[in-house]
């Protein structure tokens, strides 16, 4: 409840000292309205205490006469009395101000427009979804951005910002996984040079660079981090071998090389852990 509402309600009650229950909470919290309520109480008391003003006795009579029926003046013919036609009185119609509606109420009046907008928006979304479903058609002209290039750029930035060997290992692990995922897709579509390129990159990342970083870890860091990377490489090795079994000819060899790289990296990391423990 705001102050305007509270004060209007106080004005509406007969005895401002008797506060309706709904106002009590607001009054307790609002010093301005408390002062307002006290002022009302004082005014009310003053009105009761003030007696009627003394008057000469004729004012009331004079006032009543003004409202009494007008005396009828009958002009007899030949009397010479001229009657003026009464001038029409300007009628001023005073209309009470319309009660202020809250903003929500005003907006709610436009709900049919809201429903129409929602229906149009829904239609556009459905239409757009249906068109997306046909995106393999020859009419698609725009070439999308390359998500793999985006991942590789991110890896370069992340590696240069990595504060220590553990963080660098994590970046390389993600990069290896991204290359593996790319190869998984491309194996069916671009066998040959592209797959060989991915296999060579994968070997540099998981077969060499990860091991170099892992060598920089201390024993505790090795124990904490290497098992996770070994597990990732083990899964990647199995996956690459499985993919190679069903791949087209130009992808079989690169996938087998990727499996070997993952195996090499996994074994090298496992040996590092053993050396640390020994």
């Amino acid at each position: 409840m705001n102050c305007d509402t509270a004060r209007n309600r106080m004005l509406a009650v007969t005895d401002p000292a008797a506060i309706p229950a709904a106002l009590v909470e607001h009054l307790e919290a609002c010093s301005g309205c408390q002062a307002w309520q006290q002022l009302l109480t004082r005014i009310d008391g003053a009105v009761v205490a003030t007696g009627p003003a003394a008057y000469a006795g004729k004012a009331k009579q004079a006032l009543l006469e003004k409202f009494a029926a007008p005396k009828l003046v009958v002009a007899k013919s030949g009397s010479g009395i001229k009657l003026n036609k009464p001038a029409p009185k300007a009628v001023v119609v005073v209309q009470p101000a319309a009660p202020r509606r809250p903003l929500g109420e005003s907006l709610a009046r436009f709900w049919p427009a809201g429903v129409a907008a929602a229906v149009i928006l829904t239609g556009v979304l459905i239409w757009s979804s249906l068109r997306n479903g046909k995106s393999d058609g020859p009419t698609v002209a725009a070439v999308p951005a390359d998500p793999f290039l985006d991942k590789v750029v991110t890896a370069k930035v992340n590696l240069d910002r990595a504060p220590d060997a553990t963080a660098r290992l994590n970046v390389l692990d993600v990069l290896g996984s991204d290359i593996h995922t790319e190869a998984r897709t491309l194996a069916q579509f671009t066998p040959g040079a592209e797959m060989e390129s991915l296999a060579a990159m994968y070997d540099k990342v998981v077969g060499e660079a990860m091991f170099e970083q892992a060598r920089g870890l201390n024993l505790e860091e090795k124990r904490a981090n290497l098992p996770k990377f070994i597990e990732h490489l083990s899964k990647a090795e199995q996956d690459a071998n499985k993919l190679a079994a069903d791949a087209p000819p130009g992808s079989v060899q690169p996938l087998k090389e990727m499996a070997r790289s993952a195996q090499k990296g996994r074994i090298a990391l496992a040996q590092l852990m053993q050396q640390g423990q020994g």
């Binding site: 590789v152 060997a165 390389l172």
Partner: protein, 166 residues
């Protein structure tokens, strides 16, 4: 009451529909074509990433790994320019901007800290100047592509703000 309920139902429905859209995916064939197109630049970035990982404490050398990356981007952007492939120019410029702002700039700041008051100032200055010259060459090429030029201009300005040690 009915209006409020209806509004809520409509909003929930729209949120569900929009949420279910998901990111736009590309087909395997498109992905293969993109790799063919971007292969050289991707290989270069990966090689320089690995080179950087081998020199964790030499920030001047790490900054220098960006030289070959910028050079490769120059070549690719030039080819895209000759083919009037504006979408590719913008994509490559965006990635180069990311590399310069988020990768090279912080590395260069660390490199400056590394050589300040010690040896290696000359190497630092050479690396920085070579990179800026390579960027200038690229910006000269991009005169007919204001959007790409503007984004790389900003990156170059930020690199220029990294001062040379006294």
């Amino acid at each position: 009451m009915f209006r409020h309920t209806l509004s809520t139902v409509v909003v929930v429905f729209l949120v569900a529909v929009v949420g279910a859209q998901g990111p736009r995916t590309i087909s395997g064939q498109q992905q293969g074509d993109l790799y063919k197109k971007n292969r050289l630049v991707i290989e270069e970035i990966v090689d320089r990433t690995l080179e950087s990982s081998r020199k964790p404490n030499d920030y001047v050398e790490r900054a220098n790994t960006y030289y070959k990356v910028v050079y490769k981007f120059n070549l690719e952007i030039n080819q895209a320019r000759q083919a009037n492939d504006n979408a590719r120019i913008e994509e490559l410029s965006k990635h180069l901007g990311t590399l310069l702002d988020n990768g090279l700039a912080p590395t260069l700041v660390k490199a400056r800290g590394q050589v300040e008051g010690g040896t290696g100032v000359e190497a630092y200055i050479k690396v920085r100047n070579d990179l800026l010259a390579q960027l200038d060459a690229l910006l000269g090429m991009l005169g007919d592509n204001p959007a790409a030029k503007a984004s790389l201009d900003g990156a170059k300005k930020r690199l220029n703000e990294i001062r040379t040690p006294e």
